[in-house]
């Protein structure tokens, strides 16, 4: 991947989760805010170290769900009244029956919005050109620290002292 590097910075990979977490804290405290931490699976220790606020994806779910309910009832009631036909002596717009649509559309729209939410939110931060190693999807934790060439040495130091097994510099 090194070939396609455009963001300059230092990439360190860790075997040990606590080491990685410590490194993250140190870096953040020493002013490196914009880290990228690669893990093969969600990891609470790392999340804690990074300390980002809770994802906003729930808003998508909420809005989607509400839209769904509204759409479900709105559509059915309006359509039934648009061309009123009596069936089985039931009222033209039979609310109890339409609960089904309210519910189903809530789930449908809600979950689609959630899925879209992931994409949108994750895309807000571009990872383009940040160094990456296949092993991060396997068993290692990677920390990429974007920095100018002069800061690089300092970063490398932090990483190695927290037990980074491999540090590469892309500048």
């Amino acid at each position: 991947m090194a070939a396609a590097v455009s963001v300059s910075g230092v990439l360190g990979s860790f075997d040990h989760v606590d080491g990685a977490a410590d490194a993250i804290r140190d870096l953040k405290s020493s002013g490196f805010k914009d880290l990228t931490v690669y893990t093969a699976s969600a990891n609470h220790e790392i999340e804690a170290a990074i300390g980002d606020p809770v994802s906003a994806v729930r808003l998508f779910t909420l809005v989607g769900g509400l839209t769904g309910v509204a759409a479900g009832f709105g559509m059915t009631i309006w359509m039934s009244r648009d061309w009123p036909l009596i069936t089985g002596a039931k009222s033209v717009a039979a609310i109890p029956a339409y609960v089904v649509f309210g519910f189903e559309l809530m789930v449908l729209v809600g979950s689609l919005c959630t899925a879209v939410g992931i994409v949108i939110l994750s895309m807000r931060k571009s990872l383009k050109g940040r160094a990456y190693s296949p092993r991060f999807s396997d068993d290692r934790i990677g920390i990429f620290v974007p920095c100018s060439a002069d800061q690089a040495a300092a970063v490398e130091l932090v990483l190695t002292q927290h037990g980074s097994v491999e540090v590469t510099r892309d500048t």
């Binding site: 040990h16 931490v37 699976s41 559509m75 359509m79 789930v107 979950s111 991060f136």
Partner: protein, 452 residues
């Protein structure tokens, strides 16, 4: 390791091993058996569409419908597959919310099964209608006729429930897959890398991605959970909303949901018992998991047992001659054998699972799972077709006798389902890599450094 050894839900291998073992199932060249399997499935799929073609050309008359039995094998099979489709989301969503750890090893396969089962089921409403080419009239799209569908019809509820379920469960599957595909991407080369790379949607496992991902997964699970329960309730209302004795039951919704999960897990067992052998992942899907699946089977099976007895009790207690006649004929009528095979296969056989010996004996489970599949198909057949043979006006009573067209579609549906599943398990991680890893504590340098 020793510390965690006696927690059977704990995977016994390291992150690296997990990746290796799972990726291996995809990368290693399939043996001849696989091609035979896939081939036969493809053939059955051809049978399915061939028969469908014939139905389109000559009409539903080819199938063994004889009034008053207006719904027969097709709707039966439809409900059967929808039922199958319930185990997946149950295991992946509900058990996820319950934080029951044993689901991790099996949920990917069951989720895949769910999606394909629903894809199969979704064919049937189209196959079974008289003018298949007009099925789109059930969709509320603006048209020059100013006509809308009738939302009071349970069949419309079905349309929405099924399509929602198909969408949501596939979303669920895909989202779960993305990180794993990324893992696969990083372990293959050449054109495969390109393909998986595209499919991984640029997943790198960066914190910014995990952050939203794990959150979203939670909400999806939260949405999917009521959905699972709703879908089969809606399907059951296709019948419960009618006035046909044997259909018109107030317990249908819970009764059908339980049955659905029961049948779903039956199918799960039928699939993963051979699967884990073929893919040599016995160490990932262990007796422990089967034991849990079996317990779930026992639970739902017992609910069925209760529902069956309730049906009979209520039909007697109702004092309605119509209800009583229907259920009397279920047990002692011309199709008594169907009625009893439903009760034996579902209510009785499941009770064997009280014994741990049976729960943990793979062959026994496999046999039982086959019984479950058969039994559940017959349950729907009995409820749907047999209730129709004798309703209100005796003069109009009839007999069921299916034809080749019925059986070909039934067999074909297994082919269609099987083809998808076969292709899936050989090309995608059949075990959820990242979730297993989530459970394996990562090594720490403080305390026991380099434990491995």
């Amino acid at each position: 390791m020793a510390v965690i050894a006696h927690d059977p839900s704990m995977p016994t291998q390291t992150h690296a091993e997990v990746t290796r073992d799972v990726v291996r199932t995809i990368t290693e060249k399939p043996e001849r058996g696989y091609y035979i399997l896939a081939g036969s499935m493809a053939f059955l799929t051809l049978v399915l569409f061939g028969t469908l073609g014939a139905l389109l050309k000559y009409g539903l008359g080819l199938a063994g419908y004889s009034p008053p039995i207006m719904w027969s094998v097709y709707i039966t099979t439809f409900v059967f597959w929808i039922g199958i489709g319930h185990a997946g989301t149950l295991i992946s969503a509900i058990l996820y919310l319950f934080r029951s750890r044993w689901r991790t090893a099996v949920y990917r396969s069951t989720e895949a099964m769910t999606v394909f089962a629903v894809m199969t089921a979704a064919l049937f409403p189209i196959i079974h209608i008289g003018r298949q080419w007009l099925f789109y009239w059930l969709i509320p799209y603006p048209n020059q006729r100013f006509l809308w569908p009738n939302f009071k019809s349970p069949l419309m509820w079905d349309v929405f429930a099924i399509s929602t379920y198909l969408t949501v469960s596939s979303t669920f599957l895909v989202i779960g897959l993305v990180p794993d595909i990324a893992a696969v991407r990083d372990h293959v080369s050449g054109w495969k890398k390109k393909v998986y790379g595209a499919l991984s949607l640029g997943w790198t496992g960066a914190d910014s991605q995990w952050r939203h991902y794990s959150r979203a997964y939670l909400y999806l699970a939260a949405l999917a959970t009521p959905l699972v329960l709703s879908v089969h309730s809606v399907v059951s209302w296709d019948f419960a909303m009618s006035i046909i004795p044997g259909w018109h039951g107030t317990i249908f919704a819970p009764y059908f949901v339980a049955g659905a999960i029961y049948s779903g897990i039956g199918m799960v067992l039928t699939l993963i018992i051979p699967l884990r052998k073929v893919l040599r992942i016995e160490h990932m899907i262990t007796d422990y998991h089967f034991d849990n699946l079996a317990k779930l089977t026992l639970l739902t099976g017992s609910i069925l047992f209760y529902s069956y007895s309730m049906e009979y009790f209520i039909s007697w207690y109702s004092g309605s001659p119509f209800e009583q006649m229907t259920f009397w004929r279920r047990a002692f009528g011309p199709n008594w054998w169907a009625g009893w095979s439903m009760i034996i296969c579902n209510a009785f056989v499941s009770q064997l699972l009280w014994f741990k010996k049976i729960r943990t004996s793979i062959p026994a489970l496999f046999v039982i799972s086959i019984f479950i599949n058969i039994g559940m198909w017959f349950e729907r057949w009995v409820i749907i077709a047999m209730s129709l043979t004798n309703d209100y006006v005796p003069y109009a009573w009839g007999q069921i006798n299916p034809t080749w067209a019925d059986w070909c579609i039934l067999a074909g549906s297994f082919g269609w389902f099987g083809l998808w599943f076969t292709l899936f398990y050989k090309n995608f991680p059949i075990v959820a890599i990242q979730e297993i890893k989530e459970m394996i504590p990562m090594s720490r340098r403080k305390s026991h450094a380099g434990a491995h």
